[in-house]
């Protein structure tokens, strides 16, 4: 088990290093550079050259990478050119917001998708499973970008919920408003983005769980249990649900990447100040250190998500550890 964990940790580390390096090099290769925005267009060539030298844009990409990698190895990711702030805290703050979004969405998707999946497995003739299947096919067909736009329309039309941002404009000023009202404000802002992110994931989980339970219900051990007089409900909710957990847990590892991609679209539609938006702004501003930092954080997020999923699988099914 320890060797397995070590191998996966090493893999995650490699993933982060490769992604961040590739991001750094590609962002440097991009035409146009940050000095256009930083010092303006109407400055002398000398001033621009000085700014380029200060940012290290006159170095060769290989040298710039070596310098960046040397510092990044000591967890110093440099300072953002656009914001003039160190990259690490900036990225950490935005990554936290994305984590809140993705965490809530995953929790909601699990709480909705898994029970529905168990309940809807292999009862083709009943109305409820058919309804669930239709619902999840519909939810699967509205990716987060589409769903976020539709929900934003609904929220704007009804005025029930805020359509963008993470806090109300007044809430930040009213520091004395108390923790509870601030949490309530955050929760109201969370509804649209979390729903947009969670529904397709819930449908994915529901389908997978349903298939897994359906398969498990046909296995001999369930038939034996049925012959021993175990009630049908217990067979489904305990025996088959547990046997079907493996394939669903394997899915969780892959969800991290899906959540990241989905949250990028959701963050842009609902103005959620997350990692995706930061990355997007950094790319447009050609802010090379910030792009690399965001890419590293995204890779870390995806890598750790996969790692957690793998660990869950290995814990549930010992055969995985030797794969």
């Amino acid at each position: 088990m320890i060797a397995f964990v070590l191998r996966r940790v090493l893999f995650t580390f490699l993933l982060v290093a490769v992604t961040a390096s590739a991001a750094l090099l590609l962002a440097r290769l991009a035409p146009g550079d940050a000095t256009t925005e930083l010092v303006g267009e109407n400055v002398s060539a000398g001033a621009r050259a000085a700014e380029r030298a200060r940012l290290g844009l006159d170095e060769s990409p290989a040298r710039a990478w070596a310098r960046w990698a040397g510092r990044a190895a000591r967890l110093d990711f440099g300072a953002s050119w656009r914001y003039g702030r160190p990259v690490a805290p900036l990225v950490a703050e935005r990554a936290r917001n994305t984590l809140v979004l993705a965490g809530c969405a995953l929790l909601l998707a699990t709480m909705v998708g898994i029970p529905l999946g168990v309940a809807s497995a292999r009862e083709n003739d009943r109305a409820f499973p058919a309804l669930v299947r239709l619902g999840s096919t519909l939810a699967l067909s509205t990716p987060s970008l589409v769903l976020a736009l539709l929900l934003a329309w609904l929220a704007a039309r009804t005025g029930w919920l805020p359509t963008g941002g993470m806090t109300s404009a007044g809430a930040a000023a009213a520091e004395g408003a108390g923790v509870l009202s601030r949490i309530a404000d955050l929760a109201r802002h969370l509804v649209v983005p979390v729903l947009a992110l969670a529904l397709p994931v819930a449908a994915t989980l529901e389908r997978a769980q349903s298939r897994a339970v359906a398969r498990a219900l046909e296995e001999p051990f369930v038939r034996n249990a049925r012959a021993r007089g175990i009630p049908e409900a217990r067979l489904r909710w305990v025996h088959a649900a547990r046997a079907g957990a493996g394939p669903v847990l394997a899915l969780y590892g892959l969800l991290a990447g899906a959540l990241l991609s989905g949250s990028f679209a959701v963050e842009l539609v609902t103005a959620w100040p997350g990692l995706g938006r930061l990355m997007y702004e950094a790319l447009l501003a050609r802010d090379v250190p910030l792009v690399a930092g965001c890419a590293a954080a995204a890779a870390l997020f995806a890598g750790l998500g996969t790692l957690l999923g793998d660990l869950l699988c290995a814990w549930a099914d010992p055969r995985v550890r030797h794969a």
Binding site: F11, L145, G164, G257, Y280, L283
Partner: protein, 316 residues
């Protein structure tokens, strides 16, 4: 029970004949009808049946951009004229956008770019995945290990982030064809691992069967064994993978174009059309700018249906 496939075919056909289905040229700006609402054709006038016609719009409040149908006037629909199925001056079946361009005409025209890019990306991902998975499955050992670790790494990568970085490494304004080929290529580069893993599993399994041994005994080389004997066995699995990848690719184009890193504005794709929906005000006041989002949902729905039917057909 082939509704999914039928729906997909219908959409593909509509995209293919889009110049004929479009009511107006997709780029024409109707300056007097900015953000005009959708209009439905009428067939009943003065209590009797009438050839299909529309009531043209009249701007009643320029500030709020509120339109009213001019009940007194009838504009007849003209069928099979100007190389279009149906057209009428001042008729916008799904409304117009901020520049007064007809949403329906742009929707069917945009289907070409949005679906075409997904199709090309799918073909690319399938080709790369089939070759990598096939080679890994046949070769085994070190090659297999290395290729599978690589595919694992690409699979875990945050694909959309990689796509954004790749796209941003090129100039922002590019000809549509360049964007088309580049984005399709980039999508194929992040999409192949799932194909490769499935193909490898099938190929490795098939390689241990008697017919593979017979082929080798008859003198087939590794290349012939792979491409003539083993890969055909993976065809159903590859088809399923194509259906799994296509929605993700359509969505990736939409997301890229929506944030301004895909096709550039005069071009009509479902993503560039969604740029109109970038502000909540526009969404609330002119909800018909969300039509491309519904189109994406419809296509993904059709793919999911086809996937389900396929699953039943091949017993999974």
């Amino acid at each position: 029970m082939r509704s999914g496939r039928a729906l997909l075919l219908a959409v593909a056909l509509a995209a293919a004949v889009s110049p004929w289905l479009a009511v107006h040229p997709p780029a024409r700006q109707h300056r007097d009808a900015l953000f005009a609402p959708p209009m439905r054709p009428h067939v009943i006038a003065a209590g009797g049946l009438h050839a299909p016609f529309v009531h043209p719009l009249r701007l009643v409040d320029p500030l709020a951009r509120r339109y009213e149908a001019d009940r007194a006037r009838h504009v007849p629909l003209r069928f099979f004229s100007e190389g279009r199925l149906v057209t009428a001056d001042g008729w916008f079946p799904l409304g117009t956008d901020a520049l007064g361009r007809d949403v329906w005409s742009r929707l069917v025209t945009g289907a070409r770019l949005s679906l075409g890019i997904a199709l090309l990306a799918c073909l690319g991902a399938l080709a790369i995945g089939a070759v990598v998975g096939g080679v890994a499955g046949v070769a085994g050992g070190l090659v297999d290990g290395a290729l599978m670790r690589l595919s694992e790494m690409v699979l875990v990568l945050p694909a959309l982030y990689i796509l954004l970085i790749l796209r941003a490494s090129l100039p922002l304004v590019l000809p549509d064809l360049t964007v088309f080929l580049f984005v399709a290529g980039a999508l194929a580069l992040v999409g192949w691992p799932s194909v490769a893993r499935v193909v490898r599993a099938v190929v490795a399994r098939e390689a241990s069967l008697d017919y593979a041994a017979a082929a080798v005994a008859a003198g087939a080389g590794r290349g012939r064994l792979l491409f003539k004997h083993l890969l055909p066995a993976a065809r159903p699995a590859i088809g399923t993978q194509a259906l799994l990848l296509a929605p993700a690719f359509i969505l990736a184009e939409a997301t890229l174009s929506y944030v301004g890193l895909g096709f550039m504005p005069p071009a009509a794709s479902w993503g560039t059309m969604l740029q109109e929906a970038a502000s909540v005000r526009a969404i609330a006041d002119y909800p018909w700018v969300l039509v491309p989002a519904l189109a994406i949902a419809a296509v993904v729905f059709a793919v999911n249906l086809a996937l389900g039917e396929r699953g039943e057909a091949i017993g999974r």
